[in-house]
Symmetry: C2
Subunit: 362 residues, 2 copies
C-alpha cells in the first residue's frame, strides 16, 4: 500500500513445478486452452524446483516489459497478454467499476521478471510453473484473492495445476467458454508424505518440437490420441484418484508408467512422428523395470513429459538405494559432485544380487 | 521319382521376404496363429533377400532333423511340427487313404536344411521367409500342388504372405478354425514395376524382445492396440488397396509410414514397453521427412518391423539420389564397399540446396 501510494507497487511469488501422472496432450480449443481430456498431477516441493516472479506496476513505466531468466522477452506474446488481460478484467470487476483512489491504477504499465532454477523448455514443465507464477504475482499485485487456475490455464494449460500443492486434477470441463475447465486439489501434500520425486536430467537442451505445436499436430493426425482422450483417460483418471486415495504405490506407479508410455505412443502415432524419448530415456525405463522385477513389486515408477528427462516416483525408503543404482549405471563423469541435488540422499550399499540383476554397462 | 524309388527324395525351394505396409501385431488365437487384424505386404524380389530350404526324406533316416544356417536346430519346435503335421495330413488326404507304392512314404523321417542370405531375427522377417520356404519345400517333396498359405501361417503368421509375390493381403478371417485366415494376392509384382525397396541394416543383432512374446504382451496390455485392430486397420487396409490399385506413391508412402509409426506406438503402449526403434532409426525417419519436405511431396517412405532396421520404399527414379543422401548422412566407415548391396544403384550428385536442407551431421 505504501508503495502504491507513491505510484509503485511490487509483488513477488514463487510457483512449483507439477508432474502429470495422467497426461495432458491435445487441445479442443487452442485459443482458450481447453484440453481434450482431464489430467492429474503431483505438485513438487518448491524447495528444489520453482519459478520466482516479481511483478511491478508504476505510473513511471512507459511500457509493459518482461524478463525471463534475466533476458528480456516478448511481453506481447498472446499468452502473456491473455493472462494480463484476464487478471486486469477480474481486478476491474472486483472494484465494481468504481475507481478506488488508493488502489493501484489498472492503467499503469507493468514490469515482470521471472526466473527458473532449472532448465527451461526441456520438458520439465517450466511453462507451467512460469505462468502459474505470473498469474499469482499479478493477482497479488492487484489484490485479487480468488482462485485463478482458469486464468493460469490461459497461459499454459498445465499451469492451472501448479496453482495448488499436493495432488491436482485439471478437469476437462464441458462448457465451450472454458469456465468449468479448472484445477482442483484431489489431496493435499500431507496426504502422502512418504512420496518422493527424483528428476533425472538427461539433457538440458531445448526440445526439438515444442508442446504447443506437437500436441496440435497430434490432435490432427493421431487416431490413437483420439481414442486415448475419449475412452482410456476417463477410466484411468478414476483409477488414479483411487490409488492416491489409498496411498497405493503399486497401483499409482504402474498406472503412472503406463500413462507416460501411452502419451509417448500417441506422439509416435503423430504424423510426422514426434520423439521425446532418447536411447538414454529408454535405458532408464528398462532399469526401472529391472529394479522392480528384482524386488518383485513396484518400488520406482518413471514418467516422461515432452522431453527426454525422467521423473521417478518412489517412497522415501527406496530413494537411497535407487540413487545408488543410478550412480552405478550412469557414473558421474566430469560433473561428479553435481550429480545429485536437492534433499539429502542417504547412502546405500547394493546387495550383490541387486547389482547383478539390475546394473548394466554404463 | 528315381530318387523316391531308391527310398530317397529331395526338394529345394526358395522363398522371399515380405515387408508389411499395414502391420500385423497380435494374435487372437496363439495356437492356430490367427491375427487380430488383416495385414498387407509387398513381397521382395528373391534375387537379393531369400531363404533357401532343402527337404529330404529317406527310409535310412532314423529321425527328423533340422539345420538353420548350417547349425542344427530343434526339429521338435511346435511350429515346425505344426507345419510338418499339416503338410503330411494334406498329402495323406490327397492320396485318398490308399497307399501308392511308388509314392514317397509319409512315414520316412526327413532332414531339412534352411539358409538365409540376411541376418536372422533382426526384424527382417526372416521367420516369414523361413516358414514359407519350409512349407514349399515339404509340399514339393510330397507332391502337393494346392495353395498352402494356411499351412505356412501355422509356422509364422506373416509367412503366409511370403507364399505370393507382388502385393499380398493376409485376411484376418472370421472362423475359429482359421480356414479363412489366408493370404491373397492383391496385385502381381508386374502391376507396379517402378516400386523399389531399400533395406537399411542398422543392426544385425538379435532383437531384445521376440515378435511372438512381444505381440502377446501387447494384446494383453495395450488399449491402443485393441483400438488399432478393431477400428483403424480396417479403414487403412481399404485405403492401401486403393493406393496400390492406383499406383499412387504419395498415398502409399504416407500410409505406410503412418502405419509403421502406429505399430511402434502400440509397442510403446505395451507394458512393460517394447522399443524396437533406436536413435539411429529415428535419424532415418527424420531424414526421410526432411527429404520429402525438400521435394514437396513423398519421394521415400520408411517402414520398420520388429527391429531397428529401416525398409525404404521409393520409385526407381529416386533411388540413386536417396542412396547418395544416405551415404552422406551415414558415411561408410570400415565396411566401405559393403555399404550397398543388391541391384546396381546409379550415382547421383546432390544439389547444394538438397544437401543443405537434408544432410545433417553423420
Amino acid at each position: 500500500a505504501m508503495a502504491a501510494e507513491r505510484g509503485l507497487a511490487m509483488a513477488t511469488c514463487t510457483a512449483p513445478v507439477n508432474i502429470a501422472v495422467i497426461k495432458y496432450w491435445g487441445k479442443r480449443d487452442t485459443d482458450l486452452i481447453l484440453p481434450i481430456n482431464s489430467s492429474l498431477s503431483v505438485t513438487l516441493h518448491q524447495d528444489q524446483l520453482k519459478t520466482t516472479t516479481t511483478a511491478a506496476a508504476s505510473r513511471d513505466f512507459t511500457e509493459d516489459r518482461l524478463w525471463l531468466n534475466g533476458k528480456e522477452a516478448d511481453v506481447g506474446h498472446p499468452r502473456v497478454q491473455a493472462c494480463l488481460r484476464e487478471v486486469r478484467r477480474l481486478a476491474r470487476k472486483r472494484r465494481g467499476g468504481g475507481e478506488d483512489a488508493a488502489a493501484l491504477s489498472l492503467s499503469y504499465k507493468i514490469h515482470i521478471a521471472s526466473e527458473n532454477d532449472f532448465p527451461t523448455a526441456a520438458g520439465l514443465a517450466s511453462s507451467a510453473a512460469g505462468y502459474a507464477c505470473l498469474v499469482s504475482a499479478l493477482a497479488r499485485l492487484y489484490g485479487l484473492e480468488e482462485e485463478l487456475s482458469e486464468v493460469a490455464r490461459r497461459g499454459s494449460g498445465s499451469a492451472c495445476r501448479s496453482m495448488f500443492g499436493g495432488f491436482v486434477q485439471w478437469q476437462r470441463g464441458e462448457r465451450p467458454d472454458g469456465t468449468d475447465s479448472l484445477a482442483l486439489q484431489v489431496a493435499p501434500e500431507t496426504h502422502w508424505p512418504e512420496l518422493r520425486v527424483l528428476v533425472l536430467v538427461v539433457s538440458g537442451e531445448k526440445k526439438p518440437v515444442g508442446s504447443t505445436a506437437g500436441m496440435q499436430t497430434s490432435v490432427e493426425t493421431s487416431p490413437l490420441l483420439k481414442h486415448r482422450a475419449e475412452v482410456v483417460v476417463p477410466e484411468r483418471l478414476a483409477q488414479m484418484m483411487q490409488h492416491i486415495q489409498d496411498r497405493d504405490f503399486e497401483g499409482f506407479g504402474q498406472l503412472a508408467m503406463r500413462d507416460s508410455n501411452q502419451f509417448h505412443a500417441t506422439c509416435l502415432d503423430t504424423f510426422p512422428p514426434i520423439f521425446y524419448l532418447t536411447d538414454v530415456s529408454r535405458h532408464i525405463i528398462a532399469l526401472a523395470h529391472r529394479y522392480n522385477a528384482h524386488h518383485g513389486h513396484t518400488k520406482v515408477a518413471y514418467t516422461f513429459d515432452a522431453g527426454p528427462n525422467a521423473v521417478i516416483f518412489a517412497l522415501a525408503d527406496t530413494v537411497a538405494e535407487f540413487v545408488e543404482v543410478l550412480r552405478r549405471c550412469f557414473p558421474p563423469a566430469t560433473n561428479g559432485d553435481q550429480f545429485v541435488r536437492g534433499l539429502p540422499v542417504g547412502s546405500a550399499a547394493l546387495s550383490p544380487e541387486l547389482a547383478a540383476a539390475v546394473v548394466t554397462e554404463p
